[in-house]
Protein backbone atom coordinates (compact mmCIF):
# COMPACT_ATOMS: atom_id res chain seq x y z
CA UNK A 1 0.00 0.00 0.00
CA UNK A 2 1.74 3.12 -1.07
CA UNK A 3 -1.27 5.38 -0.89
CA UNK A 4 -1.86 7.19 2.36
CA UNK A 5 -4.77 5.66 4.18
CA UNK A 6 -7.52 7.74 5.74
CA UNK A 7 -9.97 7.00 8.51
CA UNK A 8 -12.76 6.10 6.19
CA UNK A 9 -10.73 3.22 4.76
CA UNK A 10 -11.44 1.46 8.04
CA UNK A 11 -15.17 2.00 7.95
CA UNK A 12 -17.78 -0.40 6.64
CA UNK A 13 -19.72 2.30 4.87
CA UNK A 14 -22.65 0.07 4.02
CA UNK A 15 -23.37 -0.31 7.70
CA UNK A 16 -23.71 3.42 8.36
CA UNK A 17 -25.47 5.33 9.89
CA UNK A 18 -24.35 4.08 13.26
CA UNK A 19 -26.98 2.44 15.44
CA UNK A 20 -25.78 4.06 18.65
CA UNK A 21 -27.89 6.64 20.48
CA UNK A 22 -27.53 10.33 19.84
CA UNK A 23 -24.43 11.63 21.56
CA UNK A 24 -23.10 8.20 22.48
CA UNK A 25 -19.34 8.30 22.99
CA UNK A 26 -18.78 5.10 21.02
CA UNK A 27 -18.75 6.85 17.66
CA UNK A 28 -16.18 9.30 18.91
CA UNK A 29 -13.88 6.46 19.89
CA UNK A 30 -14.42 4.79 16.53
CA UNK A 31 -13.44 8.03 14.86
CA UNK A 32 -10.26 8.40 16.91
CA UNK A 33 -9.37 4.77 16.34
CA UNK A 34 -9.79 4.91 12.58
CA UNK A 35 -7.84 8.15 12.47
CA UNK A 36 -5.07 6.55 14.50
CA UNK A 37 -4.91 3.48 12.25
CA UNK A 38 -4.81 5.69 9.19
CA UNK A 39 -2.04 7.81 10.60
CA UNK A 40 -0.06 4.68 11.39
CA UNK A 41 -0.85 3.58 7.86
CA UNK A 42 -1.67 -0.01 8.81
CA UNK A 43 -3.60 -1.64 5.97
CA UNK A 44 -7.09 -2.72 7.07
CA UNK A 45 -6.38 -6.33 6.23
CA UNK A 46 -3.50 -6.37 8.69
CA UNK A 47 -5.83 -5.32 11.47
CA UNK A 48 -8.11 -7.60 13.46
CA UNK A 49 -10.58 -6.16 15.91
CA UNK A 50 -11.99 -8.47 18.52
CA UNK A 51 -15.13 -7.26 20.21
CA UNK A 52 -17.37 -8.48 22.95
CA UNK A 53 -21.08 -7.99 23.36
CA UNK A 54 -22.39 -4.58 24.23
CA UNK A 55 -23.03 -1.26 22.59
CA UNK A 56 -19.33 -0.70 22.06
CA UNK A 57 -19.06 -4.37 21.17
CA UNK A 58 -21.01 -3.54 18.01
CA UNK A 59 -18.04 -1.53 16.73
CA UNK A 60 -16.82 -4.34 14.49
CA UNK A 61 -19.98 -4.00 12.44
CA UNK A 62 -18.86 -0.55 11.39
CA UNK A 63 -15.32 -1.47 10.51
CA UNK A 64 -13.79 -2.80 7.32
CA UNK A 65 -10.95 -4.61 9.06
CA UNK A 66 -10.98 -8.28 9.97
CA UNK A 67 -13.18 -8.95 12.95
CA UNK A 68 -13.97 -11.45 15.62
CA UNK A 69 -17.23 -10.51 17.28
CA UNK A 70 -17.17 -13.18 19.93
CA UNK A 71 -18.90 -13.61 23.24
CA UNK A 72 -19.41 -11.16 26.08
CA UNK A 73 -16.21 -10.47 27.97
CA UNK A 74 -13.86 -12.67 26.00
CA UNK A 75 -12.40 -10.28 23.43
CA UNK A 76 -8.92 -10.48 24.93
CA UNK A 77 -8.90 -14.26 24.94
CA UNK A 78 -9.78 -14.42 21.26
CA UNK A 79 -7.22 -11.70 20.63
CA UNK A 80 -4.54 -13.74 22.39
CA UNK A 81 -5.06 -16.69 20.08
CA UNK A 82 -5.07 -14.47 17.02
CA UNK A 83 -1.91 -12.62 17.96
CA UNK A 84 0.03 -15.73 18.85
CA UNK A 85 -1.03 -17.46 15.67
CA UNK A 86 -0.03 -14.54 13.48
CA UNK A 87 2.22 -12.03 15.24
CA UNK A 88 2.27 -9.75 12.20
CA UNK A 89 -1.26 -8.63 12.81
CA UNK A 90 -2.30 -5.53 14.67
CA UNK A 91 -4.77 -6.93 17.14
CA UNK A 92 -7.19 -4.59 18.87
CA UNK A 93 -9.61 -5.68 21.55
CA UNK A 94 -12.52 -3.24 21.72
CA UNK A 95 -14.47 -3.66 24.91
CA UNK A 96 -17.08 -2.05 27.08
CA UNK A 97 -16.46 -1.72 30.78
CA UNK A 98 -18.67 -4.75 31.34
CA UNK A 99 -16.76 -6.75 28.75
CA UNK A 100 -13.38 -5.74 30.09
CA UNK A 101 -13.77 -5.61 33.84
CA UNK A 102 -17.00 -7.23 34.88
CA UNK A 103 -17.54 -10.52 33.07
CA UNK A 104 -14.16 -10.28 31.37
CA UNK A 105 -12.06 -9.09 34.31
CA UNK A 106 -10.07 -12.28 34.50
CA UNK A 107 -8.96 -12.12 30.89
CA UNK A 108 -8.16 -8.46 31.39
CA UNK A 109 -5.76 -8.97 34.28
CA UNK A 110 -4.26 -12.16 32.91
CA UNK A 111 -3.67 -10.79 29.43
CA UNK A 112 -2.07 -7.71 30.96
CA UNK A 113 0.11 -9.90 33.15
CA UNK A 114 1.08 -12.14 30.29
CA UNK A 115 1.94 -9.03 28.32
CA UNK A 116 0.60 -10.29 25.03
CA UNK A 117 1.12 -7.71 22.29
CA UNK A 118 -2.48 -6.56 22.04
CA UNK A 119 -4.02 -3.12 22.31
CA UNK A 120 -7.11 -2.99 24.47
CA UNK A 121 -9.49 -0.09 24.12
CA UNK A 122 -12.13 0.10 26.79
CA UNK A 123 -15.13 2.35 26.29
CA UNK A 124 -16.03 2.99 29.89
CA UNK A 125 -19.56 4.33 30.10
CA UNK A 126 -19.99 3.18 33.71
CA UNK A 127 -22.86 0.84 32.93
CA UNK A 128 -24.20 -1.84 30.63
CA UNK A 129 -25.57 0.25 27.80
CA UNK A 130 -26.66 -2.67 25.66
CA UNK A 131 -28.91 -4.37 28.17
CA UNK A 132 -30.54 -1.21 29.45
CA UNK A 133 -28.23 0.56 31.82
CA UNK A 134 -27.53 -1.78 34.72
CA UNK A 135 -24.51 -1.15 36.93
CA UNK A 136 -21.15 -2.56 36.00
CA UNK A 137 -17.85 -3.02 37.80
CA UNK A 138 -16.96 0.59 37.01
CA UNK A 139 -20.16 2.28 38.13
CA UNK A 140 -19.12 4.68 40.88
CA UNK A 141 -20.53 3.99 44.31
CA UNK A 142 -23.95 5.52 45.03
CA UNK A 143 -24.70 6.25 41.36
CA UNK A 144 -28.13 5.24 40.15
CA UNK A 145 -28.64 2.64 37.43
CA UNK A 146 -31.47 0.41 36.26
CA UNK A 147 -30.52 -2.20 38.85
CA UNK A 148 -29.38 0.15 41.58
CA UNK A 149 -32.41 2.41 41.90
CA UNK A 150 -31.28 3.45 45.39
CA UNK A 151 -27.67 3.93 44.36
CA UNK A 152 -24.96 1.36 43.64
CA UNK A 153 -23.61 -0.23 46.81
CA UNK A 154 -20.21 -1.09 45.35
CA UNK A 155 -17.29 1.14 44.41
CA UNK A 156 -16.17 1.00 40.79
CA UNK A 157 -12.82 -0.20 39.53
CA UNK A 158 -10.07 2.13 38.54
CA UNK A 159 -9.40 0.20 35.36
CA UNK A 160 -6.03 1.78 34.80
CA UNK A 161 -4.82 0.95 38.31
CA UNK A 162 -5.91 -2.60 37.76
CA UNK A 163 -4.03 -2.89 34.47
CA UNK A 164 -0.97 -1.42 36.10
CA UNK A 165 -1.06 -3.82 39.04
CA UNK A 166 -1.57 -6.70 36.64
CA UNK A 167 1.51 -5.73 34.66
CA UNK A 168 0.45 -3.91 31.49
CA UNK A 169 3.25 -2.23 29.54
CA UNK A 170 1.25 0.80 28.56
CA UNK A 171 -1.73 2.31 30.34
CA UNK A 172 -3.53 5.52 29.47
CA UNK A 173 -6.87 7.16 30.03
CA UNK A 174 -8.70 9.58 27.82
CA UNK A 175 -12.27 10.76 27.26
CA UNK A 176 -14.63 11.41 24.38
CA UNK A 177 -14.03 15.07 25.03
CA UNK A 178 -10.23 14.84 24.66
CA UNK A 179 -10.37 13.62 21.09
CA UNK A 180 -6.95 14.70 19.92
CA UNK A 181 -5.26 13.25 22.96
CA UNK A 182 -7.29 10.07 22.58
CA UNK A 183 -6.10 9.54 19.06
CA UNK A 184 -2.48 10.09 20.05
CA UNK A 185 -2.72 7.71 22.96
CA UNK A 186 -4.31 5.06 20.76
CA UNK A 187 -1.45 5.46 18.31
CA UNK A 188 1.10 5.08 21.05
CA UNK A 189 -0.73 2.08 22.45
CA UNK A 190 -0.78 0.34 19.09
CA UNK A 191 2.86 1.06 18.51
CA UNK A 192 3.89 -0.20 21.93
CA UNK A 193 4.97 -3.83 22.04
CA UNK A 194 3.28 -5.81 24.79
CA UNK A 195 -0.11 -5.28 26.35
CA UNK A 196 -1.43 -1.74 26.18
CA UNK A 197 -4.63 -0.27 27.44
CA UNK A 198 -6.42 2.91 26.56
CA UNK A 199 -9.45 3.48 28.74
CA UNK A 200 -11.83 6.03 27.30
CA UNK A 201 -14.36 7.60 29.58
CA UNK A 202 -17.35 7.73 27.29
CA UNK A 203 -20.85 9.13 27.67
CA UNK A 204 -23.94 6.97 27.76
CA UNK A 205 -26.48 9.76 27.92
CA UNK A 206 -29.36 7.33 27.45
CA UNK A 207 -28.81 5.51 30.72
CA UNK A 208 -25.94 6.50 32.96
CA UNK A 209 -26.30 10.14 32.07
CA UNK A 210 -30.06 10.23 32.33
CA UNK A 211 -30.12 8.48 35.71
CA UNK A 212 -27.44 10.70 37.14
CA UNK A 213 -28.41 14.21 36.21
CA UNK A 214 -26.74 14.40 32.82
CA UNK A 215 -29.47 13.60 30.33
CA UNK A 216 -27.66 14.89 27.26
CA UNK A 217 -24.32 14.19 25.64
CA UNK A 218 -23.47 17.85 26.08
CA UNK A 219 -23.98 17.55 29.84
CA UNK A 220 -21.76 14.51 29.89
CA UNK A 221 -18.95 16.02 27.88
CA UNK A 222 -19.01 19.04 30.15
CA UNK A 223 -18.67 16.71 33.09
CA UNK A 224 -15.74 14.91 31.48
CA UNK A 225 -14.10 18.21 30.72
CA UNK A 226 -14.46 19.33 34.30
CA UNK A 227 -13.25 16.27 36.15
CA UNK A 228 -10.25 15.52 33.96
CA UNK A 229 -6.76 16.44 35.11
CA UNK A 230 -3.36 15.57 33.74
CA UNK A 231 -1.07 13.19 35.62
CA UNK A 232 1.20 16.14 36.37
CA UNK A 233 -1.58 18.20 37.83
CA UNK A 234 -2.83 15.15 39.75
CA UNK A 235 0.44 14.89 41.63
CA UNK A 236 -0.06 18.35 43.07
CA UNK A 237 -3.53 17.64 44.50
CA UNK A 238 -4.47 16.83 48.06
CA UNK A 239 -5.88 13.36 48.78
CA UNK A 240 -9.30 14.85 49.08
CA UNK A 241 -9.07 16.66 45.79
CA UNK A 242 -7.75 13.51 44.14
CA UNK A 243 -10.96 11.70 45.00
CA UNK A 244 -12.95 14.13 42.91
CA UNK A 245 -10.98 14.12 39.71
CA UNK A 246 -10.06 11.72 36.95
CA UNK A 247 -6.50 11.52 35.66
CA UNK A 248 -6.32 11.65 31.94
CA UNK A 249 -3.16 10.95 29.97
CA UNK A 250 -0.41 8.38 29.91
CA UNK A 251 -0.14 6.53 33.22
CA UNK A 252 2.23 3.63 32.63
CA UNK A 253 4.89 3.21 29.98
CA UNK A 254 7.33 0.38 30.42
CA UNK A 255 9.10 -2.06 28.20
CA UNK A 256 8.88 -5.52 29.64
CA UNK A 257 9.28 -8.07 26.85
CA UNK A 258 5.99 -9.38 25.51
CA UNK A 259 4.84 -12.98 25.84
CA UNK A 260 5.94 -14.13 22.43
CA UNK A 261 9.38 -12.60 22.72
CA UNK A 262 10.02 -14.43 25.98
CA UNK A 263 8.47 -17.64 24.65
CA UNK A 264 10.66 -17.55 21.56
CA UNK A 265 13.73 -16.83 23.60
CA UNK A 266 13.10 -19.67 26.03
CA UNK A 267 12.33 -22.19 23.31
CA UNK A 268 14.93 -21.01 20.81
CA UNK A 269 17.21 -23.92 21.56
CA UNK A 270 14.44 -26.49 21.21
CA UNK A 271 14.49 -28.17 17.86
Amino acid sequence: MSQKLIFSDYLAHKQLPLMWCAGCGNGVILRALTEALAELNIPPHKVVVTTGIGCFGKTDDYMSTHACHGTHGRALAFATGIKLANPELTVLALMGDGDATTIGGNHFINTARRNVDITAIVANNYNYGMTGGQYSATTPIRKVTTTSPYGTAEPGFDICELAKAAGANFVARSTSYHVVQMKKLVMEAITKKGFSLVEVSSPCPTYFGRYNGMPSAVNMLNWLKEVSVSPEKYQTLSEEEKEKVMVVGKLVDRNKPDYLTVYKELTAAVK
Binding site: W20, C24, R31, V180, P205
Partner: protein, 71 residues
Protein backbone atom coordinates in the same frame (compact mmCIF):
# COMPACT_ATOMS: atom_id res chain seq x y z
CA UNK B 1 -1.17 21.26 8.14
CA UNK B 2 -4.59 21.72 9.71
CA UNK B 3 -4.83 25.37 10.61
CA UNK B 4 -2.90 26.42 7.54
CA UNK B 5 -5.83 25.51 5.30
CA UNK B 6 -9.01 27.44 4.99
CA UNK B 7 -12.41 25.86 5.49
CA UNK B 8 -14.60 26.69 2.53
CA UNK B 9 -17.57 24.61 3.60
CA UNK B 10 -18.77 22.47 6.47
CA UNK B 11 -20.93 19.62 5.26
CA UNK B 12 -23.31 18.01 7.65
CA UNK B 13 -24.73 14.67 6.62
CA UNK B 14 -28.23 14.79 8.04
CA UNK B 15 -28.75 11.11 7.33
CA UNK B 16 -26.05 10.41 9.89
CA UNK B 17 -26.55 13.32 12.28
CA UNK B 18 -28.54 12.44 15.39
CA UNK B 19 -28.87 15.95 16.74
CA UNK B 20 -26.82 15.35 19.84
CA UNK B 21 -25.75 18.97 19.96
CA UNK B 22 -22.09 18.27 20.61
CA UNK B 23 -20.78 20.20 17.63
CA UNK B 24 -22.93 23.14 18.56
CA UNK B 25 -21.99 23.19 22.21
CA UNK B 26 -18.29 22.61 21.92
CA UNK B 27 -17.17 24.62 18.93
CA UNK B 28 -15.18 27.36 20.62
CA UNK B 29 -15.84 29.60 17.68
CA UNK B 30 -19.61 29.21 17.80
CA UNK B 31 -19.80 28.28 14.17
CA UNK B 32 -23.03 26.27 14.51
CA UNK B 33 -26.59 27.04 15.39
CA UNK B 34 -29.75 24.88 15.22
CA UNK B 35 -32.83 24.65 13.04
CA UNK B 36 -36.34 23.90 14.30
CA UNK B 37 -35.63 20.15 14.40
CA UNK B 38 -32.60 20.80 16.58
CA UNK B 39 -30.28 19.96 13.75
CA UNK B 40 -26.95 21.78 13.57
CA UNK B 41 -26.61 24.31 10.82
CA UNK B 42 -23.52 26.27 9.90
CA UNK B 43 -24.06 29.84 10.83
CA UNK B 44 -20.65 31.45 10.99
CA UNK B 45 -18.39 29.66 8.57
CA UNK B 46 -15.99 32.52 8.65
CA UNK B 47 -15.25 32.09 12.30
CA UNK B 48 -14.15 28.50 11.76
CA UNK B 49 -10.45 28.02 12.48
CA UNK B 50 -10.29 24.48 11.07
CA UNK B 51 -9.45 22.98 14.46
CA UNK B 52 -11.36 19.84 13.36
CA UNK B 53 -12.58 19.20 16.88
CA UNK B 54 -16.19 19.13 15.74
CA UNK B 55 -15.28 16.52 13.16
CA UNK B 56 -13.53 14.37 15.70
CA UNK B 57 -16.13 14.85 18.40
CA UNK B 58 -19.14 14.14 16.22
CA UNK B 59 -20.22 10.65 17.30
CA UNK B 60 -21.82 9.96 13.95
CA UNK B 61 -19.26 10.80 11.28
CA UNK B 62 -21.68 13.48 10.12
CA UNK B 63 -19.37 16.46 9.75
CA UNK B 64 -16.93 16.97 6.91
CA UNK B 65 -14.82 20.07 6.40
CA UNK B 66 -14.08 21.22 2.88
CA UNK B 67 -10.80 22.99 2.80
CA UNK B 68 -8.79 24.84 0.22
CA UNK B 69 -5.10 25.36 0.72
CA UNK B 70 -4.52 29.00 1.59
CA UNK B 71 -0.71 28.86 1.68
Amino acid sequence: MGEKEKVVAININYDYCKRCGICIAFCNREVFTTDEFERPVVDNLDRCVNCKLCVLRCPDFAIRLEVSASA
